[in-house]
Symmetry: C2
Subunit: 230 residues, 2 copies
DNA sequence: GAGTGGTCTAGACCACTCA
DNA sequence: GAGTGGTCTAGACCACTCC
């Protein structure tokens, strides 16, 4: 029976929820019962239920059973592409410029975010990413040299730190922050906009096995949109 | 063997990737070989591999095999809480105010985004969410009455449309957009800031079984941060 | 203690895709 | 055509949690 694919089971369950056959907060039948009803193995029903639970539509508890979520704290995913890919996906030509590179004790603000002692030497990079010649993203990055010692020998003149890091230091854990900020005079000049303009800012902290790797602040000119689907 | 849990297998694979035992772009052994190596069933190895692939660390293709991602299009998740929960999680008192409510043909901009004919009647709501008395979010929402007919009978004077919808019309699919925008005079007044200030804007489109449900634009005053972990 | 979900196994067949 | 991942089954044991 192709009826018994976990996708079909999932969408049938979705239908029941959508049409209030299964109401919010209500207990739905156990895995065994559903398996019998759908003529499938319990593992198959389990996969359908787990996926619905992972996306927040259902809530499951051992012994208590499975319920339609009352306050669906839904989750969505967004992808973290490389700037280059992001630009090229728009059909634009990508270009990269290194603005500054320095090793030394970093500002307290940077070490604090990474959870490192104040005098830890960090590699500080400022870069500009362009799409069809227009400023696309200003990147302000600190790299923890203890975590990625090879970075000290790399000039980053030709390759962006993001692309470079990606192949050398995968991360296991990260924290993202998104917000809007008014452009400082320097940012305005770099991004080709007016001081005070509304910029979209993304900050990222990454760790590799609990050791901080890098902190980066990525600033986009007005009009930039971050889109994601669920 | 408790060694053979998919979690252990996953973290061992992560270790191999982190320590470059498996290098970016390299082909890793097939499921059968890994299953033999770990002393587990293929299904267990498969689960570990699938989870790593879903988070973007691995790339899998039938026949071609599994590789360590060269350009890790990593994914991160963020939760979609109710405004009330968001505010209360900060320890602030939540308050809600309905600013306007109207049924009628919506502006082209709204129907177009939802993929509906131009003259479709939509319910238009404007609301303000407050944290400790200060403006926290301005909500500008259109609801497709054909998808959620009961919404026509609800005043939304006491309960926010988000909270109301959540229990009545779960969604199966959604699209999110985030960007920064300069405050219009009206937004500035509502959010207690200056015109032109950098606002953080989130837009959300939701569908239930391919039928558009609602379009909402949520605007936050300067300083608002959206944080998420991976 | 008993019921429910969480996970694992061993085996099987299928679907896709590369050569 | 053949190799690899994708999925399903049937059965089993375990872990958590409610009563």
């Amino acid at each position: 029976m192709s009826r018994s694919s976990f996708r079909n089971i999932k969408s049938e369950m979705l239908r029941r929820i959508a049409e209030q056959e299964w109401r919010p907060g209500a207990l739905i039948p156990g895995e065994e019962a559903l398996a019998a009803e759908f003529g499938a193995a319990r593992a198959t029903v389990n996969r359908a239920l787990q996926e619905l639970a992972r996306s927040g539509i259902l809530e499951r508890k051992r012994k208590a059973g499975t319920r339609v979520a009352l306050h669906p704290v839904r989750e969505a995913r967004f992808s973290i592409p490389l700037v280059r890919q992001e630009v090229e996906a728009c059909g634009a030509a990508y270009a990269y410029r290194l603005l500054s590179r320095a090793v030394g004790p970093a500002p307290e603000q940077a070490t604090e975010k990474l959870g490192l002692p104040e005098d830890t030497p960090l590699l500080h990079l400022e870069c500009l990413h362009l799409a069809d010649g227009a400023p696309y993203q200003f990147e302000d990055r600190y790299i923890h040299l203890e975590a990625v010692p090879e970075a000290a020998d790399e000039s980053f003149a030709e390759i962006g730190p993001n692309e470079w890091l990606v192949n050398r230091a995968p991360f296991s854990h990260a924290e993202f922050t998104f917000f809007a900020a008014a452009a400082s005079p320097r940012e305005a000049e770099l991004l080709g906009t007016a001081p005070g303009a509304a910029l979209f800012v993304a900050e990222r902290l990454t760790w590799l096995l609990d050791k901080p790797v890098t902190h980066v602040r990525m600033t986009h000119p007005p009009g930039h949109r971050m889109v994601t689907m669920l």
